[in-house]
């Protein structure tokens, strides 16, 4: 039993729904109690989808449990087939139906439906959404691509690849596909199939017509990519083209797989110049905390360190499947990786790291708001805001432009930050003030938040009768330190004083401690 306020991933059947909703000609019949239909609104509201996701629920109730829920499932399946006439059906159980053990796959098998039925076994009490999406995609590919062959590329034919992984409700997947297609075009590589997003079941049967695969979201497509490698001999890319460096690596990798020349000077992004322009000096060494799905966490860490000049002070993921890669990246950056799906643990880690910018999911946006720290969203789980009307990819060179803007936006502009540091006591321009381009009215909340979060707020003057105490001058001086490092300055000074037996902390002690810890 795990206590959760928020969850990073939904149950595995929601992952299956994402695959079903991504594809055309597919319908998912889900054995599930009344209420599980809430999942429709993920698609219709968050993604603003203009049609219902292709899912039929049996919506059994307590009174059905005494009767024949298996019959209810069969009726729902037959009705769904007759009404929607899909090319193929997915069948499975949600968490509650799993407990009543009706075996949708077995029931469907005995019904003689005239279309392929792909049964899904998604253990709801062990696995989560991304696993469910990956497993569903894998079962579909196995069903439709089994026994097919990889085409032999004839001389003169352009190289061809499949784009694997983009799904409905994936973070900016819609726009990433466009950018990746643009990159492929620049290399003269043709796209055979994009899947799951926009594919039909029959398209999966012709995956073999490509020379290689792009494994764009390993959380969803990794398993399929390795199956295709084993069974059809198609190699797959390893690089996810998020960020300028990764996009260049990706182009080289694709060029090698396609057997074409990598362009000498690939089209590029504005990010390198924007990052080098003097205005960006203020970004140097900014402390950032990264927490996301595996793919986006890895990409963000690299961009933060190599392309923005930030200091990565925390790196984590909720994707246990990618824990090894994230740990390796964290090791390179000199931090310890946080692999967890416990929101409270992430909150503690962020508070502890005292970052100046959080790059996270919608959950970390909540945490950052409470801590009064700026935040940019870089990964699922998603919110309606993560489906902007404009083209807003993460991948490719345009994706790097979008990322630069998105990450810089929540921060103070360079000179504004300096003035703030100089005139900290200005009543309108105090440390709680939000960046001027982000509007007003948040000041009080921001100023209050850090105190509200501290587990046990430090007493203002005396710690304990016999312990170290702050002299009023020192306390006032402490307030001049930016709030996001103030807690750390307080702790360091107190530790410094305690180690030296200093009972009263003066301004001198504060600066002695600062100098001591600066080394």
């Amino acid at each position: 039993m795990q206590l959760t306020l928020w969850t990073y991933e939904g149950p595995p059947h929601v992952g299956a729904m994402r695959v079903a909703a991504s594809m055309r000609g597919l319908h998912y019949v889900l054995h599930a109690p009344q209420g599980d239909t809430y999942a429709d609104l993920l698609f219709t509201m968050i993604e603003r989808r203009d049609s219902r996701p292709p899912v039929t629920y049996t919506t059994f109730q307590a009174r059905d449990l005494g009767g024949d829920t298996a019959e209810l499932f069969k009726t729902a399946l037959r009705d769904a087939h007759d009404r929607f006439r899909p090319e193929a059906l997915l069948v499975g159980s949600s968490c509650t139906a799993e407990l009543i053990q009706d075996d949708p796959g077995g029931l469907a098998g005995g019904m003689g439906l005239p279309v392929p039925v792909v049964p899904l076994e998604l253990p709801a009490y062990q696995k989560k959404e991304n696993w469910g999406a990956a497993e569903t995609f894998y079962q579909l590919v196995r069903t439709f691509a089994r026994g097919t062959r990889r085409r032999e590329r004839l001389p003169g034919q352009p190289p061809r690849c499949n784009i694997l992984g983009p799904t409905s409700l994936g973070f900016r997947n819609r726009d990433d596909v466009v950018e990746v297609q643009r990159l492929l075009e620049s290399l003269g590589v043709e796209v055979n199939v994009v899947a799951p997003l926009g594919a039909r079941p029959t398209d999966l049967a012709r995956l073999g017509d490509a020379d290689f695969n792009l494994d764009l979201y390993p959380e969803v497509s990794g398993q399929v990519a390795s199956w295709l490698q084993r069974n059809l001999g198609q190699p797959a890319t390893k690089t996810v083209p998020i960020g300028v460096g990764a996009t260049r690596d990706f182009l080289r990798e694709v060029a090698a797989l396609a057997g074409v020349e990598a362009p000498e000077e690939p089209a590029t992004s504005r990010l390198p110049w924007y990052s080098r322009s003097v205005d960006s000096t203020y970004l140097t060494g900014k402390r950032v905390f990264v927490f996301a799905d595996g793919t986006h966490a890895l990409a963000a860490a690299r961009i933060a360190a190599e392309e923005m000049g930030f200091a990565v002070v925390g790196l984590g993921t909720y994707s246990r499947e990618m824990a090894r890669d994230v740990r390796a990246m964290a090791g390179r950056l000199g931090v310890e990786a946080l692999v967890t799906d416990d929101y409270l643990e992430v909150e503690r880690a962020i508070a502890e790291a005292q970052p100046e910018l959080v790059l996270g999911t919608q959950m970390e946006r909540h945490i950052a708001k409470r801590l009064g720290v700026p935040c940019a969203v870089i990964s699922s789980p998603v919110h309606v805001q993560d489906f902007p009307a404009r083209h807003s990819p993460q991948m490719g060179f345009e994706g790097a432009n979008v990322i630069f803007d998105t990450w810089v936006h929540p921060l103070m502009m360079g000179l504004e930050e300096h003035l703030l540091a100089m005139f900290r006591e200005d009543f309108e321009f105090h440390d709680g003030a939000a960046p001027s381009h982000l509007g007003h009215g948040k000041a009080v909340e921001v100023a209050e938040a850090p105190a509200a979060v501290a587990e046990a707020p430090a007493p203002v003057v005396a710690l304990a009768p016999e312990a170290t105490a702050w002299l009023p001058d020192a306390e006032a001086e402490l307030k001049k330190i930016p709030f996001f490092v103030r807690g750390k300055a307080r702790r360091n000074t107190e530790r410094f004083a305690a180690e030296r037996g200093i009972a009263r902390i003066s301004v001198e002690t504060l600066y002695d401690a600062k100098a001591h810890y600066a080394r």
Binding site: M1, P11, Q34, G35, Y38, A39, T58, D79
Partner: protein
């Protein structure tokens, strides 16, 4: 007051109810937590369920909640199901962790879910044990599972769980039952005070410690139509139900206030005195907003059980034509005053087969369709104007001063379409 606003005294049963079974596109009772945790400010709701439950709450609530929620989910995993871990012990551990983090919590609800019901996890026993262990925090339980409850029954169930906690009283009092927005509650307090009803209480209270008393001289006035179990539990404690319209629209509010005041022995003249001015103001405000709704047709998909009183309001006060009034559950006793006021030509449907209902809706081509979030955008994309029904649950719509706002909720989708030129 015109004759049309006088409901006939004898409940009329409508026999021509369309009862359907099929896919029900409705929320489960867990969704009630989204507003209940804001209503009772020192209560916490701990769902004992699956990842799906946690995901539902965050998806339904995620866009609305900006502070840390006073709800959480204890997610059952394989070890709990296989009996490898004692689920009761695990629950104790999680509750201890929770209360340590939130010492301000005075009332903790353990909320049952579909999986906890199916595996027959005894939350009653758990609540009793935890209540003894955590002195100072009352621990109660109810079920919000989808196999037993639909959407607003998620308010009925926790309120019913509170009833045994209410102190006993012999005092003659009026008890208003059902969560109302604070602004609405305050308006009703003022109106009842103006009529001289001093002994007035509300369930749920804003704080757990302010639970009202109940007894044989309690008159129970329901502010919401979905309080089946709560009503029954209060009756078992001696309270007597005051039949009334629900306080939606000018007519409904007057009838509701009158029923409550009459039960407390207030004279008709005093009732008229207190209600005449605000009712006239509400009617004028509704008339201005409802202009756009006159003669338009409306189709209700089942959602909150508010559909019948809402249909009564839009047909009688806004001049709309109801094609179908769908409700997840038709509580005839509580709707006894409402049902006779529905237009005869409207189809009343109970339960749902969403595909067939969508067929009927498309055939009828209503000017406005009231439906859940899963259906609204798809229907808009088909060219139909929709009003998301959840907004009717999450907005202050009861009482005189909100009557025009309520009309406005229905008018806005139509007004928006008139504005847009893209």
């Amino acid at each position: 007051m015109s004759a049309a606003t006088q409901p006939c005294e004898k409940p009329v049963l409508r026999d021509n109810v369309l009862r359907e079974r099929g896919q029900r596109e409705v929320f489960c009772g867990l969704t009630g937590i989204v507003w209940m945790h804001r209503k009772i400010q020192d209560a916490f709701f701990l769902v004992v369920g699956s990842r799906t439950c946690a995901h539902l709450l965050q998806s339904a609530a995620g866009v609305m909640i900006f502070a840390e929620p006073r709800f959480a989910t204890a997610i059952l995993d394989e070890r709990d199901l296989a009996g490898l871990a004692d689920a009761q012990e695990e629950l104790d551990r999680n509750v201890a962790r929770l209360l340590e983090r939130r010492p301000d919590i005075r009332l903790l609800f353990l909320v049952g879910s579909c999986p906890s019901e199916v595996i027959k996890l005894d939350l009653g026993k758990a609540a009793q044990r935890l209540d003894r262990r955590f002195n100072g925090t009352r621990v109660l339980h109810y079920s919000g599972s989808g196999i037993e409850t639909t959407f607003t029954q998620g308010e009925d169930a926790p309120l019913a769980a509170l009833v045994p906690e209410m102190p006993a009283t012999d005092a003659h009092q009026l008890l208003v039952v059902g969560a109302l927005a604070e602004v609405v509650e305050d308006q009703f307090r003022r109106l009842f005070a103006a009529m001289g009803v001093g002994n007035l209480a509300f369930l749920p209270p804003r704080r757990a410690a302010e639970l009202p008393a109940v007894g044989p001289n309690t008159r129970m006035l329901l502010a919401q139509p979905f309080l089946n179990d709560t009503g029954r539990a209060l009756e078992a404690r001696g309270a007597r139900h005051v039949p009334a319209l629900f306080p939606l629209g000018a007519e409904g509010t007057t009838q509701w206030l009158r029923a409550g005041a009459e039960a407390m022995g207030v004279s008709p003249s005093r009732i008229r005195e207190a209600t005449a001015i605000p009712e006239a103001r509400a009617r004028a405000a509704v008339a201005a907003t409802a202009e756009r709704l006159q003669g338009r047709s409306i189709f209700f998909f089942p959602d909150s059980q508010l559909e019948v009183p809402l249909a009564r309001f839009v047909t009688r006060e806004c001049g709309m034509r109801a094609i179908e009034v769908g409700t997840p559950y038709l509580h005839r006793a509580h709707l006894a005053r409402e049902l006779p006021l529905l237009p005869e030509e409207a189809t009343l449907s109970e339960g749902q087969d969403v595909e067939r209902q969508l067929d009927r809706c498309r055939d009828a081509k209503p000017d406005l369709t009231v439906c859940g979030l899963g259906l609204a955008n798809p229907l808009e994309a088909e060219g139909m104007a929709t009003k998301w029904s959840i907004e009717l649950v999450f907005s202050p719509i009861q009482g005189y001063e909100q009557a025009a706002d309520l009309a406005g909720l229905f008018a806005r989708p139509l007004a928006r379409r008139e504005r847009l030129r893209v």
